[in-house]
């Protein structure tokens, strides 16, 4: 059964259709890539699923429950973790405190006024940081972490609420090539291991074609392709509006 189902989403901004009748779904254990030119509606699509934007028409179901138009924090509490294009963490807290905060919030304990936050979920938070390879950086203030580490911390924060659905908006933007592959490989493992449904946008075609189970393509607000990496890569329409001839594309990674 699909964890996320999106039906006939439409959204316009001042006469421009950012999304036009878009439908797709993501199953548990599936890593789905959303690609397309800038301004194709990828972020709009993400933000509607996440609850930051209300669609003009259409529906979003998560785990069989309709969530269209709910506030982001309610959608989060239903088991949706997300990462942002520009990584967003709590800069005045350490790495482990970031994860503890997310766990506190996920369990509805944000209004606790007495027992120190440091005593909440510390062990679980350390374990999760270990899982994303950040055990040694647990006590570092988030504001002093290198960008690649911030991205991994953000992933841990997104996983802290034990989500069923993971949304990642350009998870590798601003990272070096090696780090890119490593991060998506980690996500790939987590998706399989925890039976997560995951949706991500990405500009690096290497990353997409090497790791995604399935690829969907948006162009001018419309979904123009939905299928395996090979099928999408061969699709003439996708080549015409997005991929081009491949001459200026980066070389394949050698070890996919």
């Amino acid at each position: 059964m699909s964890v996320l189902t999106v039906r006939s989403l439409s959204k316009s901004y001042g006469g421009v259709r950012a999304l036009d009748d878009v439908s797709f779904s993501v199953a548990a254990g599936e890593l789905l890539a959303l690609i397309g030119p800038n301004g194709a509606g990828k972020s709009t699509c993400f933000n509607i699923v996440n609850g930051q934007i209300r669609p003009d028409a259409g529906h979003v179901w998560i785990g069989g429950r309709e969530v269209t138009g709910l506030a982001p924090r309610r959608i989060a509490r239903l088991g949706v973790g997300r990462t942002f294009q520009i990584a967003a963490v709590f800069g005045s807290m350490t790495a482990v405190e970031n994860v503890q905060m997310a766990m506190i919030a996920a369990r509805g304990q944000s209004f606790g006024l007495w027992r120190p936050a440091a005593a909440h979920h510390r062990q679980a938070a350390l374990e999760l940081l270990g899982r994303v390879g950040m055990a040694e950086l647990a006590e570092r203030p988030a504001a002093t972490l290198a960008y690649g580490d911030v991205k991994r911390l953000e992933l841990a924060v997104a996983l802290a609420g034990e989500p069923v659905l993971l949304l990642m908006d350009e998870p590798t933007a601003g990272m070096g090539a090696g780090e890119r592959g490593a991060l998506i490989a980690l996500v790939r493992e987590l998706v399989t291991e925890r039976r997560l449904a995951a949706l991500f946008t990405e500009h690096s075609m290497d990353v997409v074609f090497a790791h995604a189970d399935r690829v969907i393509v948006l162009a001018r607000g419309k979904l123009i392709a939905d299928g395996s990496a090979d099928a999408v890569r061969a699709d003439p329409q996708v080549r015409a509006v997005y991929l081009g001839s491949g001459a200026a594309m980066a070389e394949e990674d050698g070890h996919p």
Partner: protein, 256 residues
Amino acid sequence: MTDAAQGNATAGGEATAPLLEVEGLDAWYGAAQILFGLSLTVGRGEAVALLGRNGAGKSTTLKAIMGLVERRARRLAFDGQDVARLPTHALARRGLGYVPEDRRIFTGLTVAENLDVGRQPPRLLADGRPAPGWTTEHLFELFPNLAGMADRRGGQMSGGEQQMLTLARTLMGNPLLVLLDEPSEGVAPIIVEQMAQAILALKQKGLSILLSEQNFRFCEMICDRVYVIEHGELRWRGMTRGLSSLPEVKSNYAIL
């Protein structure tokens, strides 16, 4: 394609001193030093690439040359004159153009107004001959997409269109040298191809180019020489063709 670029490498051969000379460049973001004693030159009519992984200091190098970050250099000369103490706008008025990675279009201004902000009077070369000049008409020929949208606001353009506008806007200043920061980052592969064609055309007109890139294929199409940097220091330099036969250098510095 590499051969075509090679043929042009000796184009402005008559000039003696390089157009841009940088020696011992240090730069900082706040307290953090990003560049350490970087030296490079760009000859007249030459296209040079700065390669390196994300965070290596490529963008910072361009910003430092332009005076947009705190910097110090043993020598910073442009067109034969010491420009180390000039503020950013004065550098631009000497004929140093800068095209930022994130485009930075004035979203509230129309395409025509954006171009007008970049407008500067025609300039003369050091020897008194007129430098290559640009008008709106020329630029609309180079970027036909823009011609049809002169009255559209920058905020209502797609990412690819903005990418072209940002380059066109800088050309309105009739620069002698353009610092191009990752023109292929974050845009659809098909736009990358179009950008490469446009930049090649500029080079053939005699414009000098210093390009920061992570994508070797892209710079192979355009550049004669390459500098590889890592952690803010120069690690390798040589002809573009030379680098393509050195896979270990490329993989060491995460060049795509």
